[in-house]
Symmetry: C2
Subunit: 218 residues, 2 copies
């Protein structure tokens, strides 16, 4: 069957980056469609009527929403290349736990650093603690899944392109606090899938500055 | 191998109820250990050092945290009885989407009804809208997974034992607004796994009243 794969995406989204990386790891060809988040397409609203958010993966006309669910879907649908999740149920549960931790902690706290007024310092302190927890889970392993790049790496790596933003608005140095995590990020960036999916930090910084103006924060 | 399965739980937790139901559907025997949430055991803190929350499922000494991840783990570890998730990747992704929706929307909004001051009415209105969205997804199906009781049903049904609390503090009638969802809940309660896992509404009401006193809300 001829596969039709469409990704509704936005370049600066760390969630979109996840799905781009997963598709790239599986060598899936897809039609990449950039959305204007301030003027969403009717196709996006039709494909994700509940959350109205990117990324949306559309496979043969059927939408899959939420980036972590998309990674699992991609792994199950194209199982022949680069397994993204371990096959052992306990290891799978362990990977899902850490990806869930990233969704619950990293993004929420990161947003409080750059998109809120007055609580940046507290959020920045919490953010470093969260990264240290992740660093402790990483330990001396090459990737979160040990020797294999996979689910947890994909869930986290997109945030790296925003680290400069968090450092600027949180007045922190992530590299000096979490050097092992930075080394891990640089290892991930050696993969073509990651290098292609992540935007340049300077471009993200400009985008965030524009966002803050639109949100009335500057 | 002799299986050792322990569940660290708290009777009124809708998350704990999920895991109880999943274990019961699979006919897994386990050691049920009730936690005092105001004085957590050192075993709980050791088994879930990151979130320090119940439920924790401990299988042959290894902890699995977060209730939705536990359901998936249970389904993968004991695959021979009552599949909880569909085998088709698209249907799996669809079920995960709705369970994720329940975690992101239902619990957060429900808590705003009974555990906050002054915004109960707004939260109650939002809560009804969220239930209507779920009702629309249910449609005329017997269960969320059509003819098969499974993942999404398990993710949602525990909240039913708290509906009386939401009705009281939100000043709403869920039955008159969402009659199909109530009929679904009653169908679920015909299953032994659900009937055994859900506490009586009156007991939950007394517990919430005590909680509100402890939180200084009454």
């Amino acid at each position: 069957m001829a596969e039709e794969v469409i990704l509704l995406d936005f370049w600066a989204s760390m969630f979109g980056m996840r799905t781009r990386i997963a598709l790239s790891e599986k060598r899936v060809k897809y039609d990449h469609r950039e959305e204007d988040l301030w003027n969403k397409s009717s196709f996006l609203l039709e494909m994700n009527p509940v959350h109205k958010k990117i990324p949306v993966l559309i496979h043969n006309g059927k939408p899959v929403c939420e980036s972590l669910i998309q990674i699992e879907y991609i792994d199950e649908t194209w199982p022949d290349k680069n397994s993204l999740l371990p096959s052992d149920p306990y290891k799978r549960a362990h990977a899902k736990f850490w990806a869930d931790f990233i969704d619950k902690k990293v993004n929420v706290t990161a947003r409080r650093i750059w998109a809120a007024k007055g609580e940046e310092q507290e959020a920045a302190k919490e953010f470093i603690e969260i990264l240290k927890t992740l660093e402790s889970e990483l330990g001396d392993k090459k990737y979160f899944g040990d020797e294999t790049f996979g689910y947890v790496d994909i869930a986290l790596i997109g945030f790296y392109s925003w680290f400069g933003v968090y450092e600027k608005f949180g007045n922190i140095s992530i590299e000096s606090e979490c050097s092992k995590l930075i080394a891990w990020a640089k290892r991930c960036l050696e993969r073509e899938s990651v290098a292609k999916a992540l935007p340049e930090s300077e471009k993200v910084a400009t985008f965030v500055s524009d966002c803050r103006k639109k949100l009335g924060l500057e």
